[in-house]
């Protein structure tokens, strides 16, 4: 018995020493073993300009949405429980505060591509109780699907209706033979949305919709005065959705 007590005290001592050292030992990983892809593209503030004079039919937008949804394994669900990252809607729904009864017929009948606006002041980030939605230093509003508890506060917070929730098991609504193995599928009970293709930027590619848009969507660094995005913004008249919400969207529309 005596022996036992002695061993216990010894072990407890070692364990206590371990506990004291462990955090330091773990924190020494400041030089993380993760290497950035040398081909990755970087920006201080990613932004997108959509030229709706070039891209405005429902078919064209559906094609882009198809590409986006297939590479991100977005489930195909009909009805009010749908999940969507990129979709089309009419002028009045896209810019509800900027409509007038005598709007040009042509603009009125255009379809407008909608996606997450990657706002500078994102309300979804402000309200998220677990930091599952966060803003990256490059301005992209990203989601950690493993952190999300599914409270859907971000959906109430988003003034643009850009977020979807997985009400049921999303994998039941996917063609499993056509899954993109390079992007994770989601589980039920978490929120998801457009991520400006962070996974493609990390390997030096442009977002999928930008690539497939035949030049109708320009993507680049908003803080670089010489970028393509800034060049277009300088030359063309552009608007953003719901300016009164004060969210400063990073998606601009040429009308």
């Amino acid at each position: 018995m005596k022996n036992n007590r002695r061993t216990f005290i010894k072990l407890a001592g070692i364990a206590a020493a371990g506990l004291a050292v462990a955090p330091k030992a773990m924190a020494s990983g400041s030089a993380a073993p993760v290497k950035t892809n040398p081909e990755a593209v970087h920006a201080e503030h990613w932004a997108m300009v959509i030229d709706t004079t070039k891209l405005h039919t429902e078919e064209e937008i559906a094609e882009l949405a198809g590409i986006c949804h297939s590479i991100h394994n977005v489930p195909n669900i009909e009805g009010k429980k749908e999940v969507k990252w990129l979709w089309a809607d009419e002028y009045g729904h896209t810019f509800p505060e900027q409509e007038n009864p005598h709007l040009s017929e042509e603009v009125h009948h255009r379809s407008f591509p909608l996606l997450c606006n990657h706002c500078e002041n994102p309300p979804c980030v402000r309200v998220c109780p677990t930091k599952a939605t966060y803003k990256r230093p490059d301005g992209i509003v990203a989601m950690d699907y493993h952190r999300c508890i599914g409270c859907r506060y971000c959906m109430a917070g988003c003034p643009y209706g850009s977020r979807s929730f997985n009400w049921g098991e999303p994998r039941l609504h996917m063609d499993l033979a056509k899954l993109n193995p390079e992007f994770p599928t989601r589980m039920r009970g978490v929120v998801e949305k457009c991520n400006f293709c962070v996974e493609r930027l990390a390997v030096g590619k442009m977002p999928a919709c930008v690539e497939a848009s035949h030049g109708a969507i320009v993507f680049g660094d908003l803080s670089d005065p010489d970028s393509d995005v800034r060049k277009v913004l300088r030359e063309k008249f552009t608007i953003r959705r719901k300016p009164t919400a004060g969210t400063e969207p990073s998606v601009y529309y040429i009308i």
Binding site: K80, V127, R147, Y160
Partner: protein
């Protein structure tokens, strides 16, 4: 003291078993929801909060309302209701538990709920809501239980408890304010984006909560020897009356601001709720029922003869509870989501399974109330506090049949 809950009449055990059956049935629906996800509910991409969150919102009001008995007792030295304080506190405990359960059944990944504490995020009002709810629950458990223990031992309430009691009074206001902040800080939801929302929440809580408490105590009176002192009831009913008047006044302020300013964003949700938009008028009958019942209850409450009519009073309170529930429990959450950010209308209606899960939570709340009230009334009986007299008075009343009546 918990042992008091284990000894009861046959009727008491029948009621407990009945609640357990309800909880059992409801939990089957909840297990189903856990297996397949929230797709069992009627919510969707546009109306992403529904019945669960609206029940939570309404019940936070019930939790906060106990303070309308506690506050006069401690801040105004109004001692006529001192034997009712414990019921306000115990009701708050049950309400807090129901609130937390309604949040728990609403999240998509309940196993990750602790993330809210593991990754505290002070910029999220939900974090603060959790903090104030847990805090209020702990405060009421501490204060309620300690006071009742002291009563039972025939001792004065301990002095060290005072700071906790005063904190709990302030805290009661905070829980409903924070719940309102949950809604009123969102830029895209016009129906919620109004500075008066927190004030409206408090006004509505301070009429509906005491009304529910009075109704539950009326039922308690029928099954136990407990009897509310007449003057205490009178005062509480007056508080309910003023709070309901203020509640409706605040509502009219909203109407004025929206329609005189003529701003579409502010008018649309109200138009949808009260007149219907784009051919959708599902909520119109409910919202007008709210208006009619609200003013009916005010009419009954402000007329002294009707207010003091004890036969009518329970009905007045029921009318008031229905009215405030339609306003805050139904219209508020749905009106916030409709029209959608695209100015379109998506309708929402809870599914049967959603209602079963809600029934489970309410039954758990009723169980907690039953057990706590059983303990409290047993202690009161032991001590001879607020006991029913043959003439219908309470032993606290100055009444002819009272033993020391003058």
């Amino acid at each position: 003291m918990l042992e008091l809950a284990l000894k009861g009449s046959k009727r008491y055990w029948m009621w407990i078993s009945f609640l357990l059956v309800l909880i059992g049935i409801g939990s089957l629906a909840y297990v189903n929801q856990l297996m397949v996800g929230l797709e069992t509910t009627g919510m969707g991409r546009d109306v992403s909060w529904g019945f669960y969150i609206s029940q939570f919102t309404y019940l936070v009001g019930l939790a906060a309302s106990g303070v309308m008995i506690v506050l006069p007792n401690y801040f105004h030295n109004y001692k006529k209701n001192k034997h009712m304080v414990i019921f306000g506190e115990f009701m708050a405990i049950a309400a807090c538990i129901m609130c937390m359960l309604f949040i728990a059944v609403d999240v998509g990944q309940p196993t990750r709920m602790l993330n809210v504490m593991l990754h505290p995020t002070p910029n999220s009002i939900l974090f603060w809501d959790m903090t104030v709810l847990v805090g209020y629950l702990v405060l009421n458990l501490l204060v309620g239980w300690t006071c009742l223990m002291a009563d039972r031992a025939n001792l004065p309430h301990p002095k060290w408890l005072k700071p906790f009691i005063y904190t709990s009074i302030i805290w009661a206001f905070s829980i409903h304010t924070v719940t309102a902040f949950l809604y009123q800080g969102l830029p895209g939801r016009h129906y919620w984006l109004t500075a008066i929302l927190a004030a409206r929440f408090l006004a509505s809580a301070f009429c509906s909560g005491p009304a529910i408490l009075l109704l539950v105590l009326k039922i308690t009176e029928r099954f136990t020897t407990f009897q509310m002192p007449k003057d205490a009831v009178k005062t509480l009913v007056k508080i309910i009356m003023y709070a309901m008047c203020v509640n409706m006044f605040f509502f009219m302020l909203e109407i004025f601001t929206s329609f005189y300013s003529n701003m579409p964003g502010h008018m649309n949700p109200i138009l949808y709720l009260f007149a219907g938009e784009h051919g959708h008028n599902e909520l119109v009958p409910y919202m007008w029922t709210f208006i009619v019942l609200a003013f009916l209850s005010i009419a009954f409450l402000v007329t002294p003869q009707l207010r003091e009519n004890h036969k009518l009073l329970p009905w007045t309170l029921v009318i008031l509870v229905i009215a405030t529930w339609l306003d805050k429990g139904l219209g508020l959450v749905i009106g916030g989501f409709t029209p959608t950010p695209f100015e379109t209308i998506t309708t929402y209606w809870p599914t049967g399974k959603e209602l079963l899960v809600s029934m489970m939570v309410y039954a758990i709340g009723a169980l907690v109330v039953t057990v706590l009230f059983k303990i409290a009334t047993d202690v009161k009986e032991e001590m001879g506090h607020s006991q029913a007299l043959p003439c219908g008075c309470s032993s606290e009343d100055v009444c002819e049949c009272a033993p020391e009546g003058e």
